[in-house]
């Protein structure tokens, strides 16, 4: 009888441990287990060099979502990301790829717009900025132009 009680406590303890580990893995891995209430938006860029899946999506420096997938559409990059419900985006929203600091991580910065109609869930942001290619600028500066 005493053994059963001890085994039960150990069992519960192990279960709690596994739950804690799972929670940690999901949080650290930035996985979305229940992503149902997130709004998905897409945007096409000329180049997303350096942007990774899981990168943050920000409005005015505040995180409002994250990049879920990066793929190709023809020769342009198609980026899918989620946005917290309640964040309003419009047809004239602008999505820009920005760098944190000079050589930091890349993230997506959104300018919500508001002069045109609201962007429906699953909609595509038409206006995008790929940003300045620092490597290209630096290499042109160091090695000089061909001409």
């Amino acid at each position: 009888m005493k053994d059963t009680k001890l085994e039960l406590i150990v069992g519960v303890f192990v279960l709690v441990g596994i739950a804690a580990l799972t929670y940690m893995a999901v949080k650290l891995g930035k996985l979305e287990v229940i992503g149902g209430d997130q709004v998905e938006i897409r945007a096409e860029f000329d180049s997303v060099a350096g942007l990774k899946s899981g990168a943050t999506v920000e409005i005015a420096g505040v995180q409002v979502g994250q990049v879920t997938a990066i793929g190709l559409n023809g020769e342009r990059a198609l980026v899918s990301f989620t946005v917290t419900p309640g964040v309003m985006l419009y047809e004239d929203a602008i999505a820009s790829i920005k760098t944190r600091g000079l050589i930091g991580d890349k993230y997506v910065s959104l300018s919500p717009g508001g002069a045109l109609d609201a962007l429906p869930p699953g909609g595509k942001i038409r206006e995008t900025e790929s940003g300045i290619d620092f490597e290209k600028a630096i290499s042109e500066f160091i090695h000089g132009n061909v001409k």
Binding site: D46, Y90, D92, I94, S96, S111, P112, G113, G114, A115, L116, R126, E127, E129, S130, G131, I132, D133, E140, N145, K147
Partner: protein, 211 residues
């Protein structure tokens, strides 16, 4: 023998003509309408700035007027002003919107006309075009012999005419640039103050007519 030779030449000639026509058609299909619209305007602008008769000092005012009219036909200043103002646009009355558009147009013209007049034989290359219903983007390179600058024109069809609503230079958008600045001013001050600053700014920009 001679007859056969003639027949051969005829085949080559007809083949060449058909091939040429096909190539021509393909080129037209590639160019598309938005790129054609941009090309027509840029070609006309270059014709004016390159015209020796219009370079004479007494005709420079006339030349500036011609350029402003020509560019105004292709650029949709109202749409640019609206997009640059963003959410604030919907809160303003039609009169305020009209006045804001006029101020914005004046600022655009004063900022850029001098650079256009300073044209010195730069080559414009039309690279590609994205077309998505009533929206399109034309990719161009401007080559001044020393460096190549990427300039993309974003266009929207307005009553069957393609009009520019944003210009993306080296990956940075003109509308986004002004939107950020207007947002900063509006966070601190009122719309009236923004209008005032815009008016003062465009009045203070000196765009002397280059020699």
């Amino acid at each position: 023998m001679r007859r056969r030779q003639t027949a051969l030449w005829a085949v080559i000639l007809v083949g060449g003509m058909v091939g040429g026509a096909l190539l021509g058609a393909a080129a037209t299909a590639w160019a598309g309408l938005p790129t054609e619209a941009i090309r027509t305007t840029i070609d006309a602008v270059i014709r004016i700035v390159d015209d020796p008769a219009l370079k004479k000092p007494d005709r420079k005012e006339e030349r500036r007027k011609l350029l402003e009219d020509l560019i105004g036909q292709r650029f949709n200043y109202a749409e640019m002003a609206k997009r640059s103002l963003g959410a604030e646009w919907a809160k303003r009355s039609p009169e305020e919107q009209k006045e804001f558009t006029a101020n914005f147009q004046s600022l655009m013209v004063k900022t850029y006309i001098g650079r256009i007049e300073a044209y010195a034989g730069e080559k414009v290359l039309y690279l590609k075009e994205l077309n998505d219903g009533e929206y399109a983007e034309t990719y161009t390179h401007v080559d001044n012999g020393k460096s190549v600058i990427d300039i993309n024109y974003r266009l929207r069809k307005v009553s069957e005419d393609w009009r520019v609503y944003d210009v993306v230079v080296e990956g940075t958008s003109l509308v986004q640039n002004y939107r950020e600045q207007f947002k900063r001013i509006l966070q601190k001050d009122s719309f009236a103050e923004l209008s005032k600053q815009l008016r003062e700014k465009s009045a203070n920009i000196k765009s002397p007519i280059p020699e």
